[in-house]
């Protein structure tokens, strides 16, 4: 297909799609309207189960099955990345050269590394109370680790990041989500039903029944998934080179 023809197709298709989208926008319930029937029911259900953060309650209680699907997409994406980014036969690993980083930058990285980790774990642990949860906190905790690469060099990061351990943690966290779901089944209720544990006192760390546990499982899963993912990309970008003359 020539470039010209493609642009023509894009123009026609884009114009049609734009017209349809605008027509749809004019018919959608107005922005800022008062009635949100699903939202009101979700809030009521969440309050009945003593979960202060309704979004977490929707994610890990009312629609926990949906989150299981999201988690499997995440797991599959990471698996695909690991397979695609593995070291091929015609490649070898070059030792990454040490980097000279200015002292203030290195000090900043070393200081912020534990602070960012604690913040990430705080966001995970308080997912059922304040904004946050496993998805957000996991990304923060995993990003924290990579300050070692940014503030020092790749060898420093490799010393504190055994990739194998994180791969195992990733799978274990995915399994623990399933096991927590199956526990409900064994107890005689439904899969992922939040009826197993006491709901606790509203607005404390132990409230919400199953929600904090699922939250923690997702946090572990996301954190190790991001570490494994970035490990693949860093290996490719920094270490792995093509064999000379192949």
């Amino acid at each position: 297909m020539s470039r010209r023809l493609r642009l023509w197709l894009l123009g026609v298709g884009g114009a049609g799609l734009a017209a349809l989208l605008v027509a749809a926008c004019l018919d959608v319930p107005a922005f800022g309207r008062r009635s949100h029937p699903y939202g009101e029911r979700a809030v009521r259900a969440s309050l009945a189960r003593h979960t202060a953060n309704v979004v977490s309650s929707v994610n890990f209680d009312q629609r926990a099955y949906d989150t299981l699907g999201e988690m499997s997409i995440l797991f599959a994406a990471v698996l695909g990345c690991v397979v695609l980014l593995r070291q091929a036969g015609d490649e070898h690993r070059a030792d990454p050269r040490p980097a000279e980083v200015a002292l203030p930058v290195r000090r900043y990285a070393l200081l912020v590394l534990p602070v960012a980790l604690v913040t990430g774990l705080y966001v995970i642990a308080h997912g059922q109370l304040s904004p946050g949860g496993g998805f957000q906190g996991g990304v923060v905790a995993a990003t924290a680790l990579h300050l070692l690469y940014l503030g020092a060099d790749y060898r420093a990061l490799e010393r504190v990041r055994p990739t194998g351990v994180f791969e195992v943690t990733d799978s274990l966290a995915a399994c623990s989500y399933l096991v927590l779901g199956l526990a409900g089944l064994l107890a005689g209720t439904a899969f992922l039903a939040n009826t197993l544990l006491p709901y606790g006192t509203f607005n404390t760390l132990s409230s919400g029944g199953l929600v904090p546990l699922l939250n923690a499982a997702i946090g572990m899963e996301v954190a190790s998934a991001v570490v494994v993912l970035l490990a693949g990309f860093l290996d490719q970008a920094v270490e792995i080179e093509r064999e000379k003359g192949s």
Binding site: P96, P98, P131
Partner: protein, 150 residues
């Protein structure tokens, strides 16, 4: 609409607009400085919004940005080190101005909050924001000189 949200809107319009213009046009050295500036502008406006909506839990957003924004700038300083060797992006005047705005916002919010744990949290955010911003500027202006492939 109260004063806090109005202040956030003004800060966002001026600073966010400037950062966006800087990051979308011009030489690479200007773009990375503008990217660094965007963190320093948006983090105080998030704090102002949290105050304006009367929700202390929104402060977590600013905390996260104060931690991760400079990390993002370090990513660019690190991986664009080769291309930035030609002209060092040193915009110290801009950096300190932005840091001053951040400090002013944090101090005003601290004064409104009064002595409590929430105030200490605001101070932590302010310290992280300003130190991160200054260190990221330092990294951009040649702090990662010897970095090639490590």
């Amino acid at each position: 609409m109260n004063g806090w949200i109005l202040a956030a809107t003004v800060l966002l319009t001026a600073g966010g607009g400037a950062a966006l213009w800087g990051v979308a046009t011009g030489p690479l050295s200007r773009r990375v400085v503008a990217q660094n500036l965007s963190t320093t502008v948006i983090c105080p406006s998030l704090l102002l919004l949290a105050q304006g909506y009367g929700r202390t839990s929104y402060v977590d957003l600013a905390l996260l940005l104060a931690l991760l924004g400079p990390v993002g700038t370090l990513v660019f300083a690190r991986l664009l080190a080769d291309e930035l060797t030609g002209d060092r992006p040193a915009a110290w005047g801009l950096t300190w101005t932005a840091a001053g705005v951040g400090a002013a916002v944090v101090l005003v919010l601290c004064a409104v909050t009064g002595p409590s744990r929430a105030m200490v949290k605001l101070l932590v955010i302010g310290a992280l924001l300003i130190s991160g911003n200054v260190v990221a500027s330092r990294a951009l202006s040649g702090g990662l000189r010897g970095v090639r492939d490590g």
